[in-house]
């Protein structure tokens, strides 16, 4: 199940674990990324908390946790090479995997059609 937030994150939910990244639209708006800071595995976040930070040449931006949950894995590849977020934001450049506090909570998020309408 692929879901989106109005903060421009995408979530791919499988068996109660959401793989989270930022959308192509967000990556385009941010421009060339030069630094990514990811949360620690095992940390817990509430929906809307700042879970990661991305920095372009010009500015730093927060990446919010899309739902309540616990970080079970992070993607070191985007820390080593932040430009991956620009080249493949909705694929190889996922940010973290979030074990959802409520496995059904993702249902209420935007589907792909609704998100596309939001950024159109």
């Amino acid at each position: 199940m692929l879901k989106f937030t109005d903060e421009h994150e995408w979530l791919k939910v499988e068996a109660g674990v959401a793989t989270v990244g930022i959308t192509e639209h967000a990556a385009g708006q941010l421009g060339d990324l030069v630094f990514v800071e990811l949360p620690e595995t095992g940390s817990t976040f509430a929906k809307g908390d700042t879970a990661a930070t991305v920095e372009s040449v010009k500015a730093a931006s927060d990446v919010y946790c899309p739902l309540d949950g616990e970080i079970v894995e992070v993607n070191q590849a985007i820390v080593d090479d932040p430009s991956l977020v620009n080249s493949d934001p909705q694929g190889a450049a996922w940010f973290f995997k979030l074990k959802l506090a409520d496995p059904n909570a993702a249902d209420a998020l935007l589907d792909e059609a609704a998100y596309k309408e939001l950024v159109a």
């Binding site: 800071e37 372009s56 040449v57």
Partner: protein, 379 residues
């Protein structure tokens, strides 16, 4: 989206839009922050070939002596700037600052001697205040005119000289900070060999009616690409150049700001025209006794950019505050984070480690010599 309909436009706005620029508000103008290539590529293109910048938002001011003698204008202007204007030869330009009575900096600017008048370029955000300041200070002896009918562009980078030469004007004889009139595409422009990137390059004042045409023809050259404000900022930061309002302002003196080089001997203690500018007592006092803080280069040791506003500490616990970052970001040519800021004079030696507070952490930052990238001015 932010409403930008109230903003002023430069004569090149339509050209920016046709090039796919992302426009943002800056100093009351709608300006291109980047083009589709993005900040990183624009920055590197400027260092490797030639970048073209629209800086028409800046103020272009003429100071014309009523007596007809340029010396009178120079001496009048020296009452507002701690700079040797009298000694500036015809066809030469010099960096300057307006100071206030406390020795703070009201704006930084360029002054060119154009033979029968002085030609000033001031910052967009300050230009109305600067104009008033000039009128108030100089109107007895000079006519002060803000030019509203000219655009200003900059062509910067190692290919700039060749591009101008190929297209129209042989500028190879010009040295850094020379100013001359030249015809570009049959339009008489004022060209100075200067800029804000650390690269060799030119700043070109063009009559508004011809600005888009001249600019478009420059952009047709394969070595030239348009560059937005984003890369302009990363280029000047790597070059160690101050951004007025960030790195110098009314609360910083020229000594604290480490721009003593802008004050020639004639205006310092013992000089032919010592003092005689606003804040002279404080500024010359700092020349003699030093200041308690100083602007320095800052090189973060990790990959995380350290931005303007970050506090600097002597320790990793945030106990002893020793300074503040005034500009910081990522330097594409350095391929790492770069910054500048003020530190207490006890911490100004190159290699001194201080700690910048970033998102609750204290990141090690080394005090470093400026510029971060070697300047390639043609002296």
């Amino acid at each position: 989206m932010e409403d930008i309909s109230h903003l002023k436009h430069t004569p090149l706005r339509a050209l920016h839009l046709s090039l796919g620029a992302r426009m943002v508000p800056f100093a009351g103008y709608e300006m291109p922050v980047q083009y589709p290539d993005g900040v990183m590529k624009e920055h590197l293109h400027t260092r490797n070939a030639a970048g073209l910048f629209d800086v028409s938002h800046m103020g272009q001011v003429i100071v014309r002596p009523k007596s007809g003698k340029i010396e009178d204008a120079a001496l009048a202007l020296e009452k507002l700037v701690p700079v040797d204007v009298l000694g500036l030869g015809e066809g030469r330009q010099r960096y300057a600052i307006f100071t206030n009575a406390e020795g703070g900096i009201l704006d930084d600017l360029m002054i060119a001697n154009r033979g029968d008048h002085l030609f000033l370029v001031v910052n967009a955000a300050c230009k109305d205040a600067d104009f008033e300041h000039l009128q108030k200070g100089l109107s007895d002896t000079c006519e002060v005119t803000m030019l509203e009918d000219r655009a200003l562009i900059a062509l910067q980078g190692p290919r700039a000289e060749a591009v101008l030469g190929e297209l129209w004007a042989d500028v190879s004889a010009m040295r850094f900070m020379d100013v001359a009139e030249a015809d570009l595409h049959d339009v008489t422009c004022i060209i100075s060999r200067s800029g804000y990137t650390g690269e060799d390059g030119f700043e070109i004042s063009i009559p508004t009616a011809s600005a888009a045409d001249v600019t478009q023809r420059l952009l047709e050259h394969p070595d030239v690409k348009p560059i937005g404000l984003g890369a302009r900022d990363s280029l000047r930061l790597e070059a160690g150049l101050c951004l007025y309002g960030n790195d110098i302002d009314t609360t910083t003196t020229p000594v604290e700001g480490a721009i003593e080089w802008a004050m020639q001997k004639a205006r310092r203690a013992g000089g032919a025209r010592e003092g005689g500018f606003p804040g002279a007592e404080r500024i010359l006092g700092q020349f003699a006794d030093g200041a308690t803080r100083r602007r320095v280069g800052l090189k973060p040791e990790g990959r995380a950019p350290v931005r303007g506003g970050a506090n600097l500490f002597a320790d990793t616990e945030g106990k002893t505050l020793v300074g503040k970052v005034t500009s910081g970001g990522f330097g594409p040519t350095v391929d790492g984070p770069v910054a500048m800021g003020y530190v207490d004079t006890t911490h100004t030696d190159n290699g001194t480690t201080v700690y910048a507070e970033v998102r609750g952490k204290y990141l090690p930052v080394a005090v470093a010599a400026l510029p971060f990238v070697k300047q390639t001015y043609k002296r």
